[in-house]
Structure formats: C-alpha cells, structure tokens
Symmetry: C2
Subunit: 417 residues, 2 copies
C-alpha cells in the first residue's frame, strides 16, 4: 500500500490510483457530493466523495481513490475517493477550530492544548523554520572546521553567576542546571578542538514572565580560536556569514510556506549596522539599552544592529578588555528587529589577567577550578557567541511572544504540557 503525500498528488497526473493518509481538515457537502480537505505533513489536498458517510473533522484517515484534473483544487489535481477508512476518530472535540488562517484562541489556550494547536499548519511552520535554522547553523560551521559538541547541563559549581539558576538534587548533593555552555566551550577550544559549536538546552530561573523570556530554551553556541587575531569585528563577521547561511537554508526549505503565511522577507545580515554602545545610547536617547531602547535602535538604524564596546562592568569577568580602550570590552550584542538575539565577544585568554579580573570583581575561584585549570595549561586567543533559537525564530516570523516559537514552552508559571 504505497502512500502518496498531498503535495505529491499533482505530480501523479490524472487517472492514477493513489492512497493518501492524514487528518480531515474540513468537510463540505454540496448536494450528494462531499468535499474533504485532507492535511498531512506536506500540505493539503482535495478529496471528493460521492457516497458513504463522510469522516469526522480532525479524524485520522486513509483514503484510496483515483486522481482527476480539477483546476479549482490545490495543485490542479483532486482525488476521487473510492474508499475511506477512519484510522482514529477524535474521542473528544478539539478545543478550537483549525481551518482558519489563525487559531481563534488566546495564546494561553494555544499553549495549554499544544498537541491540538500544532495541528494547525501555521503553528507548525515556526518549527520547520527552526529546523532549517539549526541545519544551516551546523552546515556552515561544519564547513569552517568546527566540531559539534555536547556539554553537561548538570553542573556542580557556579556557572555564570547570578541567582537565576535551578537547583537539582544530585544523589543528595546540590547541583544546578547550566545557564549556558560558556565555560565548557572555552575549555574545549583550549583542549585542541579550536572551533566548537553546540545546539542545546540552557536554563534560566527568570523570576518574571515576559514575552521575551523562557526558563528553558535552545542556545546555538559557537566558540573559536582567534589565532590570527581579531576581536569583536572578526566575530561579528563570522556571525554575519553564519546567519546568511542559516537564512539561505530557511528560504530553500520553507520559502513557499513563509510566503503563504505572509511572512516578510528575511533580513540581509551583510547589511547589518554596527555601532558602539555609546552611539546606540545617543541614537536612542536612552540611559541604557533596555527593551524599549532595543526597539528604538532598530527603528532608527535598521532590522539588524550589532552593538559593540560594552563597558567591562556590564559584561562577565571573562570578557576581554580592548587594548585601545581600557574599560571597554571586545564584546557585542545583536539586536534583531528590536530584540537582543545574540551575545558574544572575545574572551580573556591570559591566565594571570583572567584571575586578576576575577579578584577585582570579587568572583571567587571556588567552582571555577576546572575552568581556570585550562587557562593555567595555556589557552589560545578565542571568542564566540550564543544565539537564542526561539528568539531568532520569533523575530524572523513576526511572532510577538517567544513562547510561540517553543514547542512546549517553560516559564515562571508553565511546566506543562
């Protein structure tokens, strides 16, 4: 029993016997004839039934029939059904209708019933885009000699500091969920991998619920040696090339679908603005680059703005201070359409300067022994960045809330489904 996908029906030509499987998206009776819109992972197709009981909406079905040319059907071909088998009928109705361009429900309801809301092709599209973004991320970095790594999320010591960590009972000992793979990816560069990346979950016990925060999210982390020199500028150039490759992958894999959803064209990373934080504050007229400042910055300078030269006090202890401007670091943020989606920078690789910076800032060495050990053995110059996958997806698709770009989002108030 060969399966034909909805999207393949038109290339089957007319008068071909075909079997389709999927979900009943809509049923419409016109006299003695019933039109069924069938939905599968590839899209939808039109099925005409001339007899029998039509299947219930949202049932999982198998329909066998013969193709026929029909200019009004998607792809110009419809299936004249000859047999319908209901594989699984809904025992309870879905909490909302799925046949409109948007699900007619509040975000909370959409997230509460995720198994149902993801049946909507528009809702699922974000995750096809997400898969293409990660594929592009890996492919581009693989081509540049990076190695994919997996570092632990269960950590024993301090990570990046701050109180926003989740505590875990580890066989009776205290442990924490990693806030980022930062320290591990640096150690791996120094261990001889030179260039590493990771696509993995990270955890922030954010005490507030906003449209831009998740307790658990996917971080696209990259870290590279900078043997040949370079600071924030070299890393920004790396990220620009990387994002261009990722967006190319999205266009290739999901271009038609995005157009159908009315998603505006993806930005061109090579045309991103690059400004210092001082310039960004002057342009926005704000004392800090807070969420409102991020919005203003993109309204004034364009969809993508890299902000450089952050004061050391506003960056972690491992940020490298610029030779030419002490007190300012070789670090950057990327603001995409009004939202910070990347933080990165060159790191301090010299053991003595790193430990001095920790002392100056009152960061205790306890918990950092393994990290500092790598520097004591000698580290190459290096730097990197992290891209928040859900934030990036949400900004590209124009989703106002980052939760919409997470299959099963976790936040202050949500631990299920």
């Amino acid at each position: 029993m060969e399966r034909t996908l909805c999207a393949e029906l038109s290339s089957a030509g007319a008068s071909s016997p075909c079997t389709v499987f999927g979900w009943v998206a809509a049923v419409r009776r016109l006299g003695a004839v019933t039109f069924v819109v069938l939905r599968d992972r590839s899209g939808t197709c039109q099925v005409v039934l001339e007899s029998g009981t039509p299947p219930p909406t949202e049932a999982v079905v198998r329909i066998a029939g013969v193709t026929a040319a029909e200019p009004r059907a998607p792809g110009g071909v419809e299936l004249r059904g000859t047999s319908v088998e209901v594989v699984a009928a809904p025992a309870v109705p879905l909490p909302f209708a799925l046949h409109r361009p948007e699900i007619p429900a509040a975000l909370e309801t959409i997230l509460e019933h995720r198994g149902a809301s993801l049946r909507h092709p528009g809702e699922r599209a974000a995750f096809a885009v997400q898969a293409a973004l990660t594929r592009g991320f890996r492919r581009h970095l693989d081509g540049l000699g990076f190695t994919e790594t997996h570092t632990p999320k269960l950590v024993g010591g301090a990570t990046e500091g701050g109180a926003e960590v989740f505590a875990v009972d580890y066989f009776g000992h205290p442990a924490f969920l990693a806030q980022s793979p930062q320290l591990y990816k640096q150690v791996l560069v120094g261990a001889g991998f030179e260039r590493v990346y990771e696509v993995g979950s990270v955890y922030r016990a954010e005490p507030h619920a906003t449209a831009r925060h998740l307790s658990e999210y996917v971080s696209l982390d990259a870290e590279t040696e900078l043997f040949a020199g370079g600071g924030a500028g070299a890393l920004i150039a790396l990220e620009q090339g990387l994002l261009s490759a990722m967006f190319d992958e999205v266009r290739a894999a999901c271009g038609a679908g995005l157009e159908r959803l009315g998603v505006p064209p993806l930005p061109d990373p090579s045309r991103a603005a690059v400004v210092t934080l001082a310039e960004a504050l002057r342009v926005t007229g704000r004392p800090t680059l807070d969420p409102e400042g991020e919005r203003l910055l993109c309204a004034r300078l364009g969809e993508m703005v890299f902000v450089t030269a952050w004061p050391a006090a506003e960056r972690p202890f491992y940020a490298l201070e610029a030779e030419s401007a002490p007190g300012l670091t070789e670090s950057f943020d990327l603001i995409l359409r009004g939202l910070e989606v990347t933080t990165g920078g060159r790191r301090e690789h010299r053991y003595e300067r790193l430990t001095a910076a920790m002392q100056r800032r009152g960061v205790p060495a306890a918990g950092f022994e393994d990290y500092l050990g790598a520097f004591a053995h000698g580290m190459p110059p290096h730097g990197g960045f992290a891209i928040g996958l859900e934030r990036l997806t949400a900004r590209l698709l124009g989703l106002p809330n980052v939760r919409r770009a997470s299959l099963f989002p976790r936040d202050r108030h949500r631990l299920r489904p």
Copy 2:
C-alpha cells in the same frame, strides 16, 4: 597573517612562506637543531628550528617559516621555522604526558583532567566520530521527511516511571529532569509532524556506577507515523538504513584517523541478525538478556543483533502488543558488540486500548493528561526508537567504558569537571 593548518602544509609545496599555530606536542634537540612537533586541530607537522630558545612542551605557539621537502616528515614537507612566538606558556605542567599513543594514566585521572586529556588526538577522535554520527543521523532523517524538534527536559509530571529521576526545584514547585523525550515525540507525530527526531540530553538517576551507565547522556530519538502499516520489522529496517548512513558519514569524515588509531572496521547494519527474545535466550542459555547475555548473544550471532518480541510485562505501557502473539510486543532492542544501544518499537495508538493498558498495569493517569489528550484527539499508528550516542560511539571505537565517549561524563560519583 594567513594561517596554514598542519594538514595543509604538504599541499603548500616547497619554499612557501607559511605560519602555523597550535600546541607544542614534542621538542627534540639534535645538535644545534631543534625539531618541534606542532599539533593543531587538523593533525601534526614537523618544524625545524636552527636558532633561538625552543618553546616549552604543550605551549600554545605561532611559528612562521618556509616549507621544505623532507621525506621523513609527515606529508613529506616540514617547516623551517624563522620566528617562534609563545602565545601562552603552561603555568603548571600537565598531569600526564601526551606524546604516546595512549595517555599513561587511569580513567579517573583522564576524566578528572579533561581539559588536558582532550589535548590527546586519540582522546579527541571519539568526539569527531560522535559529531559525524549525529550529522549522518540528521542528514538521513531529513531526507526522509523528518523534522528536528526540541522538547523540554524540565517536566512536571511522571515520565516513564521508575524512581530514577532527578528532582528540580522549579520556582518552589517540584519538577523532574526528563528520562527521555518519549511522550513528547509521540504527541508531535500525532500533532501532524508525522516524523520527528531529536538529539538531546536525557537524565537517569542511576544508583549504581557501571561501565555502561551515565546520569546524563545524549539520546538520538526518532519517531514516525506507520500509516502504511508495519511493526518492529519496519522500524528495524528504518534503523538499519539510518545506521548505514551514519557509519558512511563516519568513514567519510574520520576514516583515515580511525585507521591510524587501529579501530576495526565498522559493522554492516544490513547484515544484522534479527531474533526473538525467546530465541536469544535459547542461544545464550540464560534466563534473561542481562549484560552477560548481551555479550554471549553477539559472540554467537554476530556484531549486531536485533532482539524482538519482548513480553509486554518487560516493556512500558505504551508498547503495542502484536496481533499475532498477544502478550508479546512489537518492540526491539539492538545489541551492538555485546551492549544494548537502542530500544524501540511500535506504540499503541488507540486511545481505549492505551488507557486500558495503563489501568491493567496500575499506571495512574495523573501526570499523563497531556499525553492522553493527544490520543483522545486521534493518533496515527506510529513507532520509533532511541539510540544512546555515547554507547554507540564507545562500541564502535572499542572503548571499554562509556565515560570515555562523553566529553564531561556525569555519574553517581562525578559532577565535575
């Protein structure tokens, strides 16, 4: 300042000015001349210094020079160094020597000093293989219409049962680390993705420390609709094709390196044996397929053995019972060179039968509401499997302990580095 990788030196030809960066693997004086073996991410090269102080072993260096033909050097070309810059010298000596084929230290010492032990090319090779395995996994499944997904590791309810879960304090509420993405991947198949995969961390609070268990490991999960029918046999065929593609990727990316390390050829998944559990027990003469049984099974039937027809009592509640043999499930394990590396099977997709199976086994519905909701809305027939990445890597490379295939392993007694 263009960088030349060690592996590129031979293709630079003779009399070319080149700059190499990396780690000093070995220093050997012969009269007035010093030979330096330089190591970078691509391999090693030979540098000859005729003057100056030689750099210390394991220092990070930049060496500029001119290439010269030298039959005794790797690749037939050496670098006659004209300037050496020590980028970072070790402030403390490494805990072991790295110039031998094996690190002369116990496993515990190797893991304790991971930043140092990973400098050894043999130690790093496992992770190049691991990266190739995951790349092949994704590429093959992408080609079959699967979507990559990311499901939460922070979960509120029961997962697969058992006491081996880590507890998390989630804003004052109890939460757990997911033991597998099992329930989520099934829900996603039914939500219309049809075919999903995930490469992500999973957590088992294993109370015992063995050579085959980790508290945190990477699971390669795949789940697919089985619209066109099929049970364990169809899923085994899917995994055979998948593993073949993964092994092809390893051979293409790491073949030469594996040969140098003396790794035996990878097995051929298409030639795997497939036997029922009853047959496996008969062949091994053991009452259960315990670790010793797994070893005996492969000793008698070959490197790869799929074991099918497990009794329902030995599988989770969601395992589908075979139509032809009630009490036995459409499930399987894959035993690779004496170690279980995959568990999989077709799942019960019918709501009434699933809830009945839960009741029969005393599995409470509490905590499974979201999972059961997906079935109440109608699920297609489906199944899948999970491959333990570290176990697979260890078996392919002949590593006796699975920890050796984890960058920073976590076990009963180890929460760092």
